[in-house]
């Protein structure tokens, strides 16, 4: 199927301001990241805090300016667009944020929260409200809630409002940035299910960002694993989860507590140490300081993106091929 959205070599670093606003250094938040989202598919992005997954989402949305790279929506680079053309594309890509307590306006009623973006786009008030009501119904909020204010809603209900607001502009792509992380398990399952139903109903393509590996597996067709601003492994979800290749992906999976009593995963040697400072990332492979399989080669050049199987790549020297032979595996 065709790619609806593509990122090509996206990089972003933030300056660190010191005394009197002098730049002390830079934090490389996203470095040389490429991805593709197939039409009506779900791309899961997974990684620990500080890996750049949320920054990437904001770069795609143009909420922050990209340093380098391209974001192609249906073949057109949206990073150069301005004016009404940009407005049109923005409607096609919508976002749902993590915290439903700060992402919806407490001073607007539920229906107006959803209708707001339509008004901003010049839709008459009553028509916008009608449409808002339709989407509130689609996300499973009863009609009686429409005139209430966010303060009377629970976290799960607020997240439904945030989803309705994202859908009301009839986007083709929805980016969910940790959209279920703040919710309790029993409510989280409801919202995950809702995402899947809505995806079918409105033919959406999803980018689903989460630190929860099981949630990402459940939702995604393709998965991208990030570490310290770089993609370490990506490919079909089934492949990544059944046959992870990059030592970081493997370590990450070994760190999830298993749900089986007496089958402790903790003894499968979770990785040692902590995330190095992104102000001064390690040379070569950024994971090498914590990698159990580190070699001398890792500190030198950037690890190559090795194709493990069609569509499944891992950025690790362990799988580098000389000719047609694997060096190591």
């Amino acid at each position: 199927m065709e790619n609806i959205l593509e990122g090509v070599n996206i990089s972003k670093s933030f300056p660190i301001k010191g005394f009197l606003g002098k730049t002390k250094g830079t934090v490389s938040a996203v470095h040389d990241v490429s991805f593709s989202l197939k039409e009506q598919a779900t791309l899961g992005i997974v990684g620990e805090s500080g890996c750049g997954k949320s920054t990437l989402a904001r770069l795609i949305m143009r909420l922050i300016q990209t340093d380098e790279g391209k974001v192609n929506y249906r073949g057109e680079n949206i990073l150069n667009l301005t004016g009404s053309k940009l407005q049109d594309v923005r409607k096609k890509i919508q976002m749902v944020f993590q915290n439903p307590y700060s992402s919806i306006n407490p001073k607007l009623s539920i229906i107006d929260n959803v209708a707001f973006s339509l008004w901003e786009n010049g839709v008459p008030k009553e028509e916008a409200r009608k449409k808002a009501l339709y989407y509130l119904d689609a996300v499973g909020l009863p009609k009686s809630y429409a005139l209430r204010f966010p303060s009377s809603l629970s976290g799960g209900q607020r997240q439904r409002v945030a989803i309705a607001r994202a859908l009301v502009l009839e986007p083709e792509i929805v980016i969910a940035d940790e959209a279920v992380s703040a919710l309790d398990k029993s409510v989280q399952a409801q919202v995950l299910k809702l995402f899947q139903e809505l995806k079918k109903e409105f033919s959406l393509s999803l980018i689903f960002i989460s630190h929860d590996l099981n949630v990402v597996e459940y939702m995604s067709d393709e998965v991208m694993v990030m570490y310290l601003g770089k993609v370490v492994e990506k490919g079909p979800a089934v492949q990544i989860y059944s046959n992870p290749h990059h030592p970081y992906t493997q370590a990450l999976f070994n760190s999830i507590p298993s749900m089986e009593v007496g089958e402790s995963t903790l003894n499968n040697s979770p990785i040692n140490g902590e995330l190095p400072s992104p102000m001064n990332p390690p040379s070569g492979c950024r994971f090498r300081t914590r990698c159990p399989l580190v070699t001398e080669k890792c500190a030198g050049d950037l690890p190559p993106n090795v194709e493990i199987s069609p569509g499944h790549t891992a950025a690790c020297v362990l799988y580098e091929r000389v000719g047609n032979e694997k060096v190591l595996s």
Binding site: L192, N214, E217, Y241, M259
Partner: protein, 326 residues
């Protein structure tokens, strides 16, 4: 096996504008010596309040009723000074947010020294050495340097290790941990959980761990108590609760959590937990329960043994069992 800690009919009420509101509504629990009890529940279920009630760390105006036995001695009737002597000394507590556990204006090492000096007869010099020892035990690299840093200079995982070292300072008999790994990344969480197991073997203490994460519970627990709306709905050995849950809420919670390799539909629990200011009559879960019968809405089910050592508070489970025995 003797119980080091026992809660009997614990009720904790908060004073609000609308009068006294019960956050914990009659909890019975026992903590076995050297074992880990996990209290599992969602936000607002009263699991943290239960834990805080033990050391009387409750907001002003709160009322704690019932009975709390520590080594078979009632501590609920003790004076605040007597409780203060227990806190951090024989019963220690760890919170979710390690940044707020320390005073930002003092060096980390200094603050842990204070804990030791206030409970033990040691000189400052000895206390300093003890802190370095403790840092080494909880796996903080170059402890001699690390005792001299301020809390904000440590990473989240390192700070949680420092908090654990502070809790261990007086070799407590019971360690209360309130969501100790929730704010941490999974790789760091795995390190900290491993550390908990290590120190439990070494110090032989009992741990009461509060969490919302079934995975963490499975990893750590000997016994599990599942809380919902201020009450324990199911209680038993970890294996029983996770493999053969009886209460509809426990079943729903486990089914609603995506597992490794999960495909197909997630089973969801409809609705949301009731507010503590507006508790329904009868079973608090009845409105979300697909099998609820009329008595569920009018009467409160008690926690009763449904299988050997496994207790559930549900009319349906008992009814099913009676039908089988008939």
């Amino acid at each position: 096996m003797s119980n080091v800690l026992e809660l009997i009919d614990l009720v904790t009420q908060f004073s609000t504008k609308k009068g006294m509101v019960p956050a914990v509504r009659g909890v019975n629990l026992s903590v076995k010596r050297g074992k880990t009890l996990v209290i599992l529940g969602e936000s607002g279920s009263g699991k943290s309040v239960t834990l805080r009630s033990i050391l009387r760390i409750t907001p002003p105006g709160a009322k704690i009723l019932g009975s709390i036995l520590f080594n078979e001695e009632e501590i609920l009737t003790k004076s605040n000074n007597e409780i203060q002597a227990l806190r951090g000394n024989r019963i220690a507590m760890i919170f979710q947010d390690s940044l707020s556990a320390f005073d930002p204006l003092y060096k980390v090492g200094k603050q842990i020294e204070e804990t030791i000096i206030s409970h033990q007869k040691v000189t400052r010099k000895q206390a300093k050495e003890l802190v370095i020892d403790l840092f080494r035990k909880v796996g903080i690299p170059s402890p001699e340097e690390r005792v001299k840093v301020y809390p904000h200079e440590m990473s989240g995982g390192m700070r949680q290790r420092a908090v654990i070292s502070m809790a261990l300072a007086c070799k407590p008999e019971v360690l209360l941990a309130d969501e100790p790994t929730t704010a941490l990344d999974v790789t760091i969480q795995a390190q900290i959980l491993k550390l908990f197991k290590q120190i439990q073997t070494e110090f032989g203490m009992s741990i009461v761990l509060v969490t919302h994460d079934i995975g963490v519970a499975a990893e750590m627990a000997d016994d599990i108590a599942v809380m919902y709306a201020g009450k324990i709905v199911e209680y038993g050995e970890a294996k029983q609760i996770l493999f053969s849950p009886e209460h509809p809420y426990t079943k729903g919670l486990i089914a609603a959590t995506p597992k490794k390799g999960q495909k197909g539909e997630l089973i969801t629990i409809p609705g949301q937990p009731p507010l503590i200011t507006n508790m329904p009559k009868g079973c608090a879960f009845a409105d979300r329960c697909s099998d609820a019968i009329s008595s569920c809405h009018s009467e409160n089910p008690e926690l009763k043994e449904v299988k050997p050592k496994q207790h559930a508070a549900c009319f349906l489970v008992r009814q099913k069992k009676e039908m089988i025995t008939i």
